[in-house]
Amino acid sequence: MTDDLRELSGRVSIVGVGDTDYSADWRASRANDPEWTGRDSNGLALLAFERALKDGGLTRKDIDGLAFAVGPTPTETMVDVLGIKPAYVEKGWLYSMMRNAVHAIDEGKANTVALVYGYAQKSMGVEYGGTDIQQGTLSYYYYHPWGWSSQAAHWAMTFQYYSKKYGYTEKDLAAVPVQIRKHAMLNENAVMRTPLTVDDYLASRYIVRPLHVFDLCLVNDGGVCLILRKTNQSRDMPHAPVKIAGWGEYHGRKDKWQNMVEQSLQPYLKISGGQAFSMAAMTHRDIQHLQPYDHGSFIVPLQIEGFGFAKPGEGLAFCQDGRIGLGGELPVNTSGGMLSESYMQGWNQMAEAVRQLRHEAGARQVEGIETSMFCFCSSTGADTFIYQRG
């Protein structure tokens, strides 16, 4: 932690948020509605962008910075699609782009930066396991000869180890997707809103045993946009600014088994979370709302442990009895996360953090909160952000 980062804490805020119609799009695509043509990744990004502009009371002319993750779309195409002429552009990965955008705004390279995501992954038939995967993360394709592949299998191995070490069962894990589904039922834009009980969970099919279908995130189409500008220029805007108070990042070795399985991701999470707490001058006791990455249910308790909310081995116990629900000690993934709202690779979870801190989350609002923490947690690392109502 450098003093420079400490000084950047809170200097930039999220002032606009937009997303797409996850639920309606999902239903229309499933119903084979002939009227519904859907949108491609660019179209989803555009819709989210226009909604974020409107939300922030901004026009295209206000946007002089762009950071985007929209499939293979090149920069020239993206700026045309969005109809903007940004001076600052980055194409890449949300979490480094958000940090970089804060630096860029602070250094005067841009005044107002739109972070834009769009991915028509369902329509494109994207798969997260199997022989078609031949590149990217090493563990996704290297073990094909042993018949091992998929995101699901990572968390199946990790949960199996943890459950035997600490004496948990599948029923204990059910508490996570069941609670997150309860939150999604309060969100009209969530894809999965039918009630889910522990019995439903236990009766459901395995994908990779010991994990059931409800332990794994959706694959759906959507887009998200977040607009950033200096906090001291965010006062007279339609909504309370949401300050980017802290962040941390840590990425481990390519041979992830030890960190992922034997150490339950704790080294990644402690370092990444610790950096974010330090930059924000907070501890876990200051965090009132947590948006842990949940492309697999089991990494929710691991993040709860990693950030200090529970002791090692007690993260899954912490997830029982509504403690991670609305009204509980630490409400988690209040819009339904990626298990039940929308799999936007974390972008929807950031959007929810903004809405919660603006106190605009309606039926699922956590009352009066001032802080929220988000983590992009994967099998190889963790990118953590702390947000604060401005």
């Binding site: 191995m157 395995y206 990779v208 041979d255 034997e262």
Partner: protein, 137 residues
């Protein structure tokens, strides 16, 4: 009769690993700079990043199962049946090796069950090869 399997990753370093398997040996790359054992095969040490400075360390093939999972979804439709068992073996020397059980199945596995290396005859699009798997010790 060789078992059909999804394709291996082949090329520099990977080919060395499979050549040792053909001789009935499990050998992994030891970094000449820092001594770290990297697996899967790589051109740069996973720990210190040193490039191309490796010896191939021979492993005893003895270890214990630290985790396991079974595929019920057919990610390899037409190639492998389901349910499909996989195990995570911690070799006595330290490294962790993903593999398959030979002669036992999901319901037989307990945490820390001791296992030993075996090789089975397999085939992929690149031809026949010997696959390292584990049987009860």
């Amino acid at each position: 009769m060789a078992e059909k399997r999804p394709n291996r990753v082949l090329g520099p370093y990977h080919d060395d690993f499979w050549a040792y398997c053909r001789e009935g040996e499990l050998r992994l790359q030891k970094c000449g700079a820092c001594g770290y054992i990297s697996w899967p095969a790589t051109d740069a040490c996973f720990d210190c990043g040193a490039r191309g400075d490796f010896s191939w360390e021979k492993f005893s093939g003895k270890g214990k199962i630290i985790s396991w999972c079974t595929f019920e979804r057919e990610y390899y439709r037409g190639v492998l049946p389901v349910p499909w068992d996989t195990i995570l073996v911690k070799l006595n020397e330290g490294p962790i090796f993903l593999s398959n059980p030979k002669g036992f199945a999901y319901k037989d596995i307990e945490a820390d069950m001791p296992v030993k290396l075996a090789f089975i005859d397999c085939e992929d699009n690149a031809g026949q090869f010997k696959l390292p798997v584990f049987e009860r010790a």
